[in-house]
């Protein structure tokens, strides 16, 4: 049994009456014990929303409309209150996008550790100051920070240090799965590299499963075993990281790779992707990438391609990964 089994997750945003934005559409996902997976895509593709859905952090006007989220065999998609808290204590944590946003500006780091340990304490567990400080220092050490950080306030720390504190807090309950939502986005390249290395090392040493969400394909490929690419709310490609670079399946992934280049190369051709992602408040007919895709066929306009096996992974593309089921049923006529 995989640690995380996700089937048919759909998330809808209803910011104003009558407006429904389908930000995550029919996502399936499997995360094995100890696996490190990346989730990559651009603004509005639904990756952070998916991360929040998986950790039950969605708040109105966002809602998990459909889907099953099985964590360690237990469907957590409908749990509330104490039952949900027990699962959280038992299993999963999320590290948010900006260390500053996740930390209370008027409380020092030690207080943050105290909060988390006490909130999830079993009956009978006590966390006097000395215990909090000891545990805090242990956790800070895991992320390469000195125990003196315990007495600091968030504004006294650099961006990279704040992010490391957030990671240390996520480790406090020894979770079996951690979701990192854009952990390096606000950081400069040098700090970014160090934080990613820390995350990689921790994942390997502690063995938790992890999902790294980022818009930066370079960062994700460097850190993870496997990558899922999202576009317009759907997962469109799923491949081992090293295979993705040499052989992307989906035309969007191909186009995305062309937007990166080595600054040391002799000739640089920087690509872009013309057009914009679709408006997800409108029903999507067929494949969402159609207006921007160089390989469009008739079937793409009418039928949304399912994820079909290809190579060492899978892709949602009629042209690259034609699905046997679709071939049997035939093409729906264009009206």
């Amino acid at each position: 049994m995989a640690l995380l089994e996700v089937e048919g997750v759909n998330v809808v945003y209803e910011p104003t009456r009558g407006q429904r934005i389908w930000s995550v559409r029919d996502v399936d996902l499997v995360l094995e014990q100890g696996e490190f997976v990346g989730l990559v895509g651009e603004s509005g593709c639904g990756k952070s929303t998916l991360g929040f859905a998986l950790t039950r952090m969605l708040r109105p006007p966002a809602r998990l409309e459909k889907g099953v989220i099985r964590f360690d065999g237990v469907d957590i998609s409908t749990l509330k209150g104490e039952a949900l808290r027990r699962q959280r204590r038992n299993g999963f944590a999320i590290v948010l996008q900006s260390g500053m946003n996740a930390l209370n500006p008027v409380r020092n780091v030690e207080h943050h550790f105290g909060d988390i340990l006490k909130a999830h304490a079993h009956g009978g567990e006590h966390y006097p100051g000395a215990t909090v400080r000891r545990r805090g220092a242990e956790l800070l050490d895991k992320v390469g920070l000195d125990a003196s950080v315990l007495s600091r306030f968030p504004h006294e720390l650099s961006g990279g240090m704040r992010q490391r504190v957030s990671i240390a807090l996520a480790l406090a309950l020894e979770p079996r799965m951690i979701i990192f939502d854009e952990p390096t986005t606000a950081l400069d390249v040098i700090v970014q590299k160090a934080v990613i290395q820390t995350i990689k090392d921790l994942q390997r040493e502690n063995g938790f499963s992890a999902i790294l969400i980022s818009h930066d394909l370079g960062v994700v490929l460097e850190a993870t075993d496997r990558v899922m690419v999202m576009y317009a709310g759907r997962v469109v490609e799923d491949q081992p990281s090293k295979d993705l670079v040499s052989g992307p399946h989906h035309p969007y992934t191909e186009a995305l790779l062309r937007c990166y280049a080595d600054p040391r190369a002799d000739e640089i051709h920087l690509g872009g992707i013309p057009g914009t992602p679709p408006d997800l408040s409108l029903p999507q007919a067929g494949c969402s990438f159609t207006p921007r895709c160089p390989l469009v066929q008739d079937i793409c306009r009418t039928l949304d391609p399912p994820m079909s096996p290809l190579g060492h992974g899978s892709a949602a593309c009629h042209v690259r990964a034609p699905s046997a089921a679709v071939a049997e049923e035939g093409v729906k006529p264009v009206h």
């Binding site: 603004s43 390249v189 080595d262 040391r264 872009g272």
Partner: protein, 268 residues
């Protein structure tokens, strides 16, 4: 068209309170931007690059050294002189959402400098707005003029910021991380826009970033900054292909491109 000459510029802040003392943000930096040239300042957070940008645009004054724009001594400018200077040197910032008033339409935003600096009457200003929107590729202009910032993508917002910066026909644009908050698929277009503005209008460009790829694409010359000092300087391609200073090497190593990691087993 005037060259921008930065000579021996330093900026030292006096820190009060805990950790009292002096903090040197910029330490003896010198460089020149010839008319029509593009220079990149690269470095990590705290390297002093944004402080240099602020001194060049007049928001901060150097503690020592001089900044000359042609005959003009920038560090001595006040009020009227500074205002006139701003019509010749404009800035494009990192966060296009923060740079635009969320309550103002595109047309209103781009019209402001036309009215403020150029004293254009509304009808003429409106024409100029449409010209500028065409120039930055927001076409047809009529479709974009009435939009509010939240109705635009990040790339489109940044184009509005650039259109506004072009309104008074500046000679130099100081761009501080103009594409780092944009999706990668949108960056090439904005960089190409800046490059074509150089080519077509002879605009000079100071490009400030920690992104070496952007620096390589847009600039002829690069300065690498570490803790306020210039550690390496030279033609962009040459410095990136043959870095001499260990900090430059560190920056290059830190760039995570898919191609740099191809063939590496990620879990090593």
């Amino acid at each position: 068209m005037a060259p921008l000459v930065v000579s021996g510029v330093s900026k030292v802040y006096t820190v009060r309170g805990r950790g009292r003392g002096k903090f040197t943000a910029v330490d003896d930096v010198s460089f020149t931007i010839a008319p029509g040239a593009a220079v990149s300042l690269v470095g990590a957070s705290g390297s002093g690059k944004s402080t240099i940008a602020k001194m060049i645009t007049g928001s901060e004054r150097p503690t020592s050294g001089s900044i000359r724009f042609g005959e003009l001594a920038v560090e001595g400018l006040h009020a009227g002189g500074l205002r006139k200077y701003h019509s010749r040197v404009q800035m494009v910032f990192q966060d296009p959402y923060a740079a635009l008033n969320p309550l103002h339409t595109v047309e209103y935003t781009v019209m402001r400098p036309c009215q403020n600096f150029l004293r254009m009457p509304p009808a003429r200003a409106r024409e100029r707005v449409y010209e500028l929107l065409e120039t930055v590729g927001l076409t047809p202009p009529a479709q974009f003029a009435g939009k509010l910032p939240h109705q635009l993508s990040g790339g489109q917002r940044q184009r509005v910021v650039i259109a506004r910066a072009l309104a008074c026909d500046p000679e130099l644009i100081v761009a501080d991380e103009p594409v780092s908050m944009l999706d990668v698929s949108l960056r090439a277009d904005v960089l190409r826009l800046l490059a074509s503005l150089r080519a077509k209008r002879g605009l000079s460009l100071l490009y400030i970033t920690h992104d070496l790829l952007g620096a390589r694409v847009i600039s002829d010359e690069i300065l690498v900054l570490n803790k306020g000092k210039v550690v390496e300087q030279g033609p962009t391609k040459q410095v990136l292909q043959h870095p001499k200073h260990e900090y430059t090497v560190q920056l290059l190593d830190a760039v995570a491109t898919p191609f740099a990691t191809a063939g590496t087993a990620p879990s090593d």
